[in-house]
Each structure stands twice: as C-alpha cells, then as structure tokens.
Symmetry: C2
Subunit: 337 residues, 2 copies
C-alpha cells in the first residue's frame, strides 16, 4: 500500500458531513505526523466539492484540546474537520472528528509473541488499551490473549476519550478504572509518548505492542528513567520562590480551576507567581523570560514538562509535581493532573 493509504481518513464521511451541513468554508486540522499523508486526499475532496473553500491548519494539533477554534473564527470557517482525535470539548464552531484508524494491523504472530512475554513476566491478568489509531485491533488482541489463558480487562473510557479502551496523552481513565484488577497493562501504540503516560498514570508494568515496528517492548525501565528525572526536577525546585504559571491559550488547555488552586497554595506559602499565557511552550520562549522566575508550573497540558525534546533550563513542573514542591509532602507520582 502507498503511504497515503496507511490511515483511513474516511473521505466518504467527510464529504457526507460537509454536504449535510452545507458548509462553505472548511478548516481542516490534522496532527503533525499525518499532515503529509492527508494532503494528497485533500485534492480529492476539492474536486468532489468544488464549491467548498478548504483551508488547512499548518500549526500543531497535539490533541482534541488543540482544536483550531480561534483560527476558524478568524477565517469565518463554518466547519472544522479535525482528524486523528476524538472530541475533547464541545466547541462553539461546528466540528467533526475523523478517527483515522491505522491500516497497519498487528499480526497474529506478534500477538502470540506478546502472549509469551506476558507469561514470562507472570502477568495473568492485564489491562488492555490503545491509542485511537489502533483501537480497531483491540478486540483481536483481546481474543488471542484470552485464548491463551490471559485474563484481559478493558476499562470504560474517561472524560476526554470516546471509546472504551481508548487512552490519550492526558486521559488514562480507561486503564485506571481497572488498575486494581491487573498485574500489568498492554498498550497498542507506536512511539514512547502514550506508553509513558500510561506508566506514569498507573505505576504498573507496561508492555507495548507496536504494529508499526512489529515489536513487543517492555516499557518499564524507560518509564522508571523518566520518573527519576521527574523527582529530580521536583527536588531542584524545592527552594523556588518565584513561579511562572503557564496558562494555556487554547480553550481545551485553559484550566482556570487548576490555576487558582496553585495560586492559592503559593499565596499561603508566601511565595510569588505571575500568570503567563503561552500557546506553545518551548525552551526559547521560557529563556526569553530571563532569570526572573525560579521555576515554571504548566497548567495547560501536563505532557509539556515531561515530553519536551529540548531540555528546559529551569525546572518546569506539572501541577501534581508543583503540589509536592509547594506542600513539601512526598507522594507517589500523580499523573495526569
């Protein structure tokens, strides 16, 4: 299959919804990794709907939280077609969500390899979850594991996910709801991002089945490494007096309750803070603030402190981490928060 065919962009549904809603100006938003795969399909949409004006968002789309509502309003688009995520919040601009399931399916051989590995680590009861793109194979994996005598739990989805067994970067409710029933979690996913989040949230062994790489990986040592880094980051913030509180600009990343909670503790502890609104947090943007702040607390997206590729010079904390720093109470890692 050619690379444009790796994902099912469900053009029929897109065409149907645009016609049904009589949309005239459509803003299309696609996650960074899928943008180049989607663009060739846009040509088909344009030729099938020649009266519709299509505009593509070229900015990042990290999740449903990053819905390009502000852009749609400015451009007076009457529909957002958001690809690759499920709905995160109810937007003011009409929006449809296209799952973009992967057509790369884990082979039976790979699932049998997973079975042996779980037996090796004596995991007889496991949680099973998947990122949206691979949810289409969750039942196949469940069936084969159960045929091999492993008990599989798939939890109910959380507030920011749509399907049972689905997890996103900041919602692991599906795994957490069955965390007490299992000895390990299996995640169908590529990359490090989602398995890491799952590990930080559940604090259990995580085994990844990766359909892209056709590989089974025990993620536990990687997750441990990150946990060590996070506690180091917490430790080096203990003397901080001035906090920069990063406030999200996107509606899905604006969390006023978390902001006021944190500010209240800061006031109680006689420390100071300034609110800083930031769309995308980078080391460059923090560096521009100079040495004024001792540490930053990110209230927008809990993944920013953990996953930034470039190392932040100053301590950059999640609200959960900041809570430990400010109260001085050592706790088990809380994620996401």
């Amino acid at each position: 299959m050619s690379k444009e065919e790796y994902y099912d962009f469900n053009l029929e549904l897109i065409v149907k919804e645009i016609l049904r809603r009589k949309a005239k100006k459509v803003l299309v938003q696609v996650p960074d990794g899928l943008k180049h795969l989607f663009l060739p399909h846009l040509e088909e949409l344009k030729s099938r709907l020649s009266n519709v004006d299509f505009i593509v968002s070229g900015d990042p789309a990290y999740g449903g939280c990053f819905l390009a509502e502000a852009e749609a309003k400015m451009l007076r688009a009457d529909l957002i077609v958001h690809i690759g995520h499920t709905e995160y919040y109810r937007s003011e601009v009409p929006s449809i969500y296209i799952e973009a399931f992967s057509k790369t399916i884990a082979s039976e051989g790979l699932i049998e390899e997973l079975t042996s590995y779980l037996k090796d680590i004596h995991a007889k009861k496991v949680g099973l979850c998947a990122v949206l793109q691979h949810l289409n194979m969750i039942h196949k994996v469940k069936t084969i594991l159960e045929e091999n005598g492993i008990k599989v739990f798939i939890g109910k989805h959380g507030p920011y996910t749509r399907y049972n067994g689905q997890i996103v970067g900041c919602d692991y409710v599906s795994a957490l709801s069955i965390n007490d029933d299992v000895e390990a979690h299996v995640i169908i996913s590529g990359g490090l991002f989602h398995p890491l989040g799952l590990g930080l949230a559940t604090l259990r062994p995580i085994v990844k089945i990766d359909p892209y790489e056709n590989k089974i990986t025990d993620m536990s040592s990687y997750i441990q490494k990150i946990l060590k880094k996070r506690y180091w980051e917490i430790m080096r913030s203990l003397d901080a007096e001035k906090f920069g509180i990063i406030v999200g600009f996107r509606k899905g990343q604006f969390r006023p309750k978390i902001i006021s909670n944190i500010e209240e503790i800061i006031r109680e502890k006689k420390k100071t803070s300034v609110r800083i609104v930031m769309d995308i947090v980078t080391e460059e943007r923090l560096a521009n603030l100079g040495n004024f702040f001792d540490a930053y607390i990110i209230t927008s997206c809990p993944r920013i402190p953990i996953d930034n590729i470039v190392k932040f010079k100053k301590p950059v904390l999640t609200p959960g981490e900041a809570h430990m720093v400010l109260t001085g109470k050592l706790e088990k890692y809380r994620f996401p928060w």
Copy 2:
C-alpha cells in the same frame, strides 16, 4: 544603570491608563528581547495596582501586527498593554501602546564618526530614520549631521508607523517618501533586521548608527548578499506547480486581498495552491507538510521568507517574489509587499 533601566517603560503612563479605564484584568505583551527587562517592573505595577489582575503573554510579539487580541478575548482581559511598538491596526480589545525608548543614546563622537563616513562615500544628501526605540535621538543626529554640511531628510510616517522618521519591519514609507531626494539612508538601529528591510525597500546604500554597539556600519554588502539569496530563491521556484499559500492567523497579519490576488494569478497560470493558516512559520511546520508543495508563498508577514534563522528546505517566497515567479517578469526587488 542596571539592565532593567535600559528602556523607559513609562510605568506612570501605564498606571494612569489602567486607572482611567478602570481595567481589572490586563494582558501585558512585550517583544521577546525586552521581556526579561520588563518583568521586574511588573512587580511595581502589581504592588501599585493591587486590585488589578496582570497576565503576561509569553508568546512572541514581533510587532504591533501580533497584538494578542485572541488571547485577551479568551482570558476576558479588558485591556492590552502592548510594549515596544506603535499601533498597527485598530483592535477590538482596548489597547495601549508604550514606546519603550532606549536610554542608550548615541554619543556625539559616534555621530561625528558617522559624518566622516558619509563624507567618505560622498553622501551629501541622506535620509534619516530610526526604529521606535531610538527615535528619541533622531533630532540630535540630524542636527549634528546638518552642522557638518550634510543635508538630512526625514520622511513622513507610513500606514503602520506613528512618527515621522519611524520605520518598522514592513513599513519603510518614511524612507521611501524621500528616496528620490537622497544618495543614501542613515538608520539608527541595532541588529540587522531593520537596516536590511530598509535596504530591500529603498535599494540605496544604508549606513547604520548603532547606539548599543557604539558603531557605524555600512550595511550595503550584507544587503547585497541577501538580495542575491532572494533572486536565487526566485530562480529555484520557477518550475513550481503546487503552492502552499501561508495565511496569517493574527488579525494584523491576515491579508485577504494579497491572498486572492496571488490565487488569481496561480489559477490563470494553471498551477494549483492550497491555503494553509499558520501562526508562526518554522521549518519544522513546513517540513510536516512533506513534499506535497513545491514552494510556499507567505502572505502573513513579508519578513518570514527573508529573516528565518533556519534555512527553509523548500523555496519560501514573499508575495512580491511570487509575482515574479508566476508572471515570469524579471523586476527590481519590491519590498515590502
């Protein structure tokens, strides 16, 4: 003077305007280079106006065009205090502009050095302009040059500037309006950005008097080097068939007329294009679009193709450059457009 004192942030005016307008929630926007210098003053504002809620924008503020209106609306701020630029467009959110004049003034010795240099290059009639931060010394420079027999022209400001003699990255009207009267332009500025724009706009010799570095620099060879690069970029776009038209997200960078002009020529020439809305253009964001486009045309800010620090892999053109590419007509460089 301590570095927080390098610029006059006019706190009295800020306090007066906040009180006069009875603002309760104020979003403060400062250009990247001044952010760390302004932050210590924010403490004073907070203590003098303890009932006012201050939020700082941590995202770039490249110009008045980049006014954080969308952020202010989302945060329900009732006033934007925008520092370091003059008004670019009339915003919906009440906004005040604070000039932030530099307190680093060119010495008389340096201005005399400028005089000798202008005599060396036989420039008897010169245009004089300055970036906003250094406009406070334009009359001193003019006086000393004229005392030395050099005729000095200061042009009327353009649509995106406020003061005569003021230039910004995309408005050189003040220099262009007297371009036919002069043999060279003198600019009071640090850095390369503004002298380069002045050279591209006027195509005359540019001499920079830099109060920060206490130095006179003839910018002409640097400007020539950039012009060569631009014509190379134009040349390597000649076979392009598919254009990505970058549309600005910020109101001050959204130029629908330029977009539709370019699209019309593209249609006439039987080439194709897709509109891509992008807040900040980076090589990373363009690279995420893969190989779908042969070249990009930036309709948001004309400085993006020219000034990006990281080299763009694909050709990235200003509308003026794209016009040459699409019509095949070789013209003198047009900037800004």
